[in-house]
Amino acid sequence: MATHTDVVSTHAPLPPVAEPGMLGPRPTATHGVWSWLTTIDHKRIGILYGVSALIFIVFGGIEALLMRVQLAVPNNHFLIGDAFNQMFTMHATTMIFLGVMPLTAAFFNYVVPLMIGARDVAFPRLNAFSFWVFLAGGVFLNMGWLTGTAPNGAWVGYPPITSVQYNPTHNSDLWAIGLILLGIASLAASLNFFTTIVNLRAPGLTLMRMPVFVWMTIVTNVLLLLAFPPITIALIQLFFDRNFGANFFNPTNGGMPIMWEHWFWVFGHPEVYILILPPMGIVSEILPTFSRKPLFGYPLIVFSGAFIGFMGFAVWSHHMFTTGMGVVAVLAFSITTSIIAVPTGVKIFNWIGTLWGGNLRMETPMLYALAFIAMFSIGGFSGIMHSAAASDFQQHDTYFIVAHFHYVLIGGSITGLLGGLSYWYPKITGRILNEKLGKAAFWTFFLAFNATFYPMHIIGLNGMPRRIYTYNTGLGFEDWNMFISISAFVLALSFLMFFINMFWSAKYGKVAGNDPWDARTLEWSISSPPPVYNFAATPTVTHLDDFWHKKQTGQPIGEWDGQLIHMPLQSYYPLISGAGLFTFGLGMLFIRDNWQISTVVAAGGFLMLLFSIYGWAMEGPGAEYLDPRKETGAYN
């Protein structure tokens, strides 16, 4: 942290009177519920994202376990037909949109501004807006459980199975509106982070000196920006089909179900990279720190990430090899898909290169990072297998695929994210996760994960289709399914251990200090948890891994110049606009049951949104001036 000085510059402006918003005075709470509801601090928003994501991951995990109970024995009657279909639809939707994505967003929020030496993101209130709209979407998707009509069209939602003719209740309406809300949240966030990284970097932090996690953040947010419009359009078309008879995807009136599949995967494949690139960035931070060496081939890792992101838009139809696109299209997408193996391989080689010649410390974050490399590679290998379209005709929509994407999404994404949690937990809470319990949780996770998902390759090759709620005896499925179900419960136990560790260590963990890992990037140069304004003195960057360089060469990190620090004020409007969008969605949900009441509710929601947009614009960012000598942690 900046050295405190007794001299306050005489140029420091005096705090002005707080500007009133349209709702009277602006919120100023620094403690309690209101301080969280009105916060615009990227660190608090990061924590909000993280906590909600973990809660949703627990939801998704419970859904998975219920399915595993049903599938443990053949011809089971625990959870059949539509109930099972709701379960797998919501498991996937929850884990992807409400688990992994917001957990990556938690890291974008918490870590990226710290890594680039900024005091907040470019649009702090928009950031809060993103979170509240995300939460609204998450609640929307899960509301169906209350009435037993949760979304049930699979996470890909291929019409006509999601059309009103085959799905007459509100299942797919909840799904469409929920995902549209999440899309709005993601689009706002992507613009915000793109702007932040482009504009708010500390002096000297050129693009090729940025930490890889920041690079992966910017690539991911470009993907979000380009991938969410297609799915939003498709969802609106689906909603119009369902509620206003629009016939976009209705084959009996000339619509084309295949069109949805293209819309969906033009979004869906980049989405996969949206889930994996941030954890790749996290791993690229952990490995150098715990190897005490710079990342091997930094520019190649960066360009590989960007190339993977770019290619993400050139491979979508490999999810559609069996849709009858014709041999030439299948072959073309087969080739583009296999090309992705090259930049991915480059990343893996470079991570191993980073280990080579290093001084590796096997602490928990490092274990997760190493596990990421191993598990993600195995998922990558089965990816190569799928890229060969000729044989993919067989594996497509079997448990072999289920095994593949759980290897990349749990073995890859979640492993990387758990590593990130272990790595930045001291920065966020000021305390280190208990190492013993952390390691126990890691090994349980690692073994149970492999025991759960590896056998899925085998039952997949034995011909078990995915998304089936029951199967017959004598097909070679039953023993492995029992084994998988037991392992899945052990896997759940490992998450429980991780969560217990988080709670325990928040109170009793070893105090971290600024830089518990002897790390390399700027966020470790300030106190843990960081103060509201992050950096009292904006750092000046001269090298890649600048903090490490300064530590090694004994250079001082910048000193506070005595100016009071200008920070924006809290606001009610992001929360209100989120609530407005939620209400608007709620109105639209019942539009074909009772259009009068629905229209009134939707109009109410729209007015709330309109009101908060005006309030937002008129109150302005506001300003308060903080004295670093009097401030402590960012949240209490």
Partner: protein
Amino acid sequence: MRVIQVGLLSVFLIGLYVVALFLPHAMDGPQSIMNVFGPVAIEQRNVFMITVWVSLFLLVTVGSVFLYAIFRFRAKPGQDFHVPEQTHGSAKVEIALIVVSCLLLLVIAIPNAKALFFVSEVPAERKKDAIKVEAIGHQWWWEFKYTDLGITTANELHIPVGVPIDVQVKSVDVIHAFWVPNLAGKIDATPGQVNTMWLQADKPGTYNGHCTEYCGDSHANMRFFAIADKKEDFEKWVANAKADAVKPSSIEEINGQGVFMRGCNSCHTIAGSGAAGMVGPNLSHFAARTTFGAGIFKKSDDKDNALLAKWIRYPKEMKPGNKMNLDQVNMVVSDKEVKDLIAYLNSLK
């Protein structure tokens, strides 16, 4: 302690791989894509095995370098704060690895491209021998139409051994996928669209099929069979299948037909009887099939017809979402009538 941990772990992981690859019969289930009986599936498995060997090669080489690095370069006790040489990368190594990766991809890409053309369409020189079949997906059963032979049947696709079958895949409602893993990979049945694939069985036998595109409540129950017959058996089957249904002879069968005509006929066809419904499976030769309920129930397990009776009385309990609905056609049936109906159905050889 660490050595034990890592040792156990390696044993565990290697064990999984060994089970997967080398344990005899680990992947020889009746629905396996590894244990195959037709040229299409064999070609697909061969390409798959190439990808497996390439992956195994990568796993072993990259994996051993990775594990070696972890053990070789771990911090020695007391040296936690030793700072190693700060190297940033090597262009030569990178370029070499990229070139090797691209070459490995070519090893897969070329056989894949060749196989892709082979599996997508009946080879030109064999087209004239091919039998054309339309496979039409319904929620939740398959209709098979032999367009040249004038046969319509359901859930059991009879094919002659050694003859290519040109399959036109369609759907009347939602998206399904047609898949007989032992014989060929799958293709989607998308409404408003005709997709083609081909398959051939080289050995007589009954091969499992399963819908593989999620299609609603009973997706799990949308099973079928491809039954490969010797040429003469197939011809016998064709002759029987082309003929009208057997006329009822016993008093029970005649009564049963009467029950059938009270409502079943609005959805089901029985050729020659006047029942011409198009919604449900064609039952003209119901008794010649080995299963009912879209391949869920084997008749050999139902000698006393108890399951069939339950199927007729409580169709939704037997299969979630079942579209067979007696209320819809205002049918009330007594136990005796169900018995008669079963007698009639079982007479339809």
